[in-house]
Symmetry: none
Subunit: 205 residues, 4 copies
Amino acid sequence: MGTKRTLTRVDGASGATMRDLEARRRILSVTHQMLVTQGYAKLTIGGVAANAGVGKATIYRTWPNKPALVLEALRNTFPEVPTADLGDSRAEMLAAANTLAALFNLREVRAALPGLIADTAEGEGSEHDLRDRLIGERKSRSTQCLERAIERGDLPADTDVSLVLDSWAGVMLFRCLFFGETLSAADVERLVDTTLVSPHRLPAA
Amino acid sequence: MGTKRTLTRVDGASGATMRDLEARRRILSVTHQMLVTQGYAKLTIGGVAANAGVGKATIYRTWPNKPALVLEALRNTFPEVPTADLGDSRAEMLAAANTLAALFNLREVRAALPGLIADTAEGEGSEHDLRDRLIGERKSRSTQCLERAIERGDLPADTDVSLVLDSWAGVMLFRCLFFGETLSAADVERLVDTTLVSPHRLPAA
Amino acid sequence: MGTKRTLTRVDGASGATMRDLEARRRILSVTHQMLVTQGYAKLTIGGVAANAGVGKATIYRTWPNKPALVLEALRNTFPEVPTADLGDSRAEMLAAANTLAALFNLREVRAALPGLIADTAEGEGSEHDLRDRLIGERKSRSTQCLERAIERGDLPADTDVSLVLDSWAGVMLFRCLFFGETLSAADVERLVDTTLVSPHRLPAA
Amino acid sequence: MGTKRTLTRVDGASGATMRDLEARRRILSVTHQMLVTQGYAKLTIGGVAANAGVGKATIYRTWPNKPALVLEALRNTFPEVPTADLGDSRAEMLAAANTLAALFNLREVRAALPGLIADTAEGEGSEHDLRDRLIGERKSRSTQCLERAIERGDLPADTDVSLVLDSWAGVMLFRCLFFGETLSAADVERLVDTTLVSPHRLPAA
DNA sequence: AAGTAAACGAGACGGTACGTCGTGTCTTCCG
DNA sequence: CGGAAGACACGACGTACCGTCTCGTTTACTT
């Protein structure tokens, strides 16, 4: 007999004691689908439950609220930032940046992001954790990439890696949220090259 | 003859659309206040109406929905990006960037932004207009600043001004939304200096 | 110089100082029209005002509320109970009863009656007065008719005239309100003849 | 395992549709109460909900609108027209008529009737059904009474039973609605005796 | 004829109730 | 005995009218 109420879900995948693993899959899939077709605002827990042939309680048993559910539904579709060592710093950085850009280009992400941000804005609990985890994951992998470039001497040692990465993500986020645009491949390239030439440090002089 | 039974002041200034303006001011002020104290999510039209001693219909008569109201309540508190010619490109850019950073540091902005973004995400109508206007205003003034720097030769002619500015705003937005942080003065400086050294153009080589 | 605020309107027709007599006519006519086409519930003061090309205040200046307005709009179309002495008690009674039946058969009366009753139910003020006046008028004329029959000896002297008349009106009201029906000519005749044969007095024993 | 947070009693009787019935009873009772204390016009669904400690939706789930709710709240308090065979036609008719009179004398009926009639006036749906049912029920039982009198020979065979009954109800309705009066016992007796002597048929001559 | 005061059309205003919807918790009942 | 089904309390939504009010303007009396 398992502890019924798992207050803090440790890992997105374990799913507590959900009897029907199949149901879980269905819920997430329906969520994802509705996200794309209806958008975040019109997606309701009740709707997901109905479309998944599931009781609302079943959903609430696993996810505490809408953003948590959406977040997990999104996780599966997130592209992974590649970490392979290509020997070429610029190529690696481009790959990382392009992956990020691709993420902001996903229909479901664009649909979910605004609502997700709003609904988790003041949440200090699991919501923040989840969001951080999702972002943190990409960021840490991208960080590896930049640090390798530093090791190679392609970026100065005092580069503010976090600032660079937040800058990359920031432009994309900004354009995505406010204009519904994506960065073009050329823009991404420009971003990376700017970083390479003058990687956010004070000028030598 | 005699003042019939005018509860509100009669003399006033011009006797024009007094009643309107009186109420309008009160509504916006209450909205702003509640934004700070309660946050966007807990701010309701009904609540604003009650606190402003106004009928809900009066609000709906002027603003079609919550984000429109909040947006207008916010406009008044937005700091203006300075456009004065200081003769010093770096100083001007710092001023612009710091103004931007200050904006993201306002309590009411931080409270309103997530919800505002979410609620105007799919709006194609006035909502988009408003948002664009608000952002566009700052951006165009900042653009003046950067272009002056280009004219002075402090920035290369092929600088992608929009990308630079979106980058600046992007980092701030990103950190604001996801971490509730603000850019430190040092970070802002770093941002500006990076732009000055290698303003987002491809390297010559 | 007339008394400005006529709180109690003494007679439905005098209309205080309504500048534009034409407007008054238009208001009542529009009210009557809307009563027929929309029914009492959907008739709003605002609607009447708009359709009559008149400000709401103009209506409220003359009539204190909806039922008062409707009542007056109705008065004009009410058929008068005949009081002429025909020499024949049965003929006179039939005429009176049929006039009553005709009244309940008017489209506007059927439309207005239920709402009118409801809205003036608890009114102790002018509303009750008005209603009583309207009903009282018909009733007093019908009373004349019955009393003449008593004088002639066609009805016993101890006939409870009021009970008889209320009985007549009652059936019609009952059928009108609950079934939307009218008394057929035959039913009216039966009603009258019953009264003639045994006019609501105790049997002689 | 502790009682989680059940504010309402848990043990109850059978555990069947307790929650439903519990709430239903409370709603109807509150409605009835408010009807008496406030009257029909001031009774609001929201008010009933609040006083019954129930959400508005719960009421709307069961009753489509105010009159439907009031109607049902009223049903419980309606006195039944007796149908017992007393062997005495006059006694039976008096019983029936007095029951009817008593009904129109109920505080809640007098309070609800005008509004109820108005709000169900144009209703062709369930409203009409309900009203008919409520009235029809009394009427059919009264009809039994009169028909038994006919069988006994106390009333002529060609008596228009429906007209007689509508006449009875009509007077009461008329006096109730327009004058807030009730028929005195003497009046009821007079009504019955009139019917017995000359039961609404054409005179033989 | 000019001046004054009122009545007017228009419609904004503070309120109140409406009926609907979504949330997150709960209970019931079925497989 | 666990889950679907959905009822439940709550609370916000946006709409509709009410009856009062405030605008300018138009009209009709006064002088």
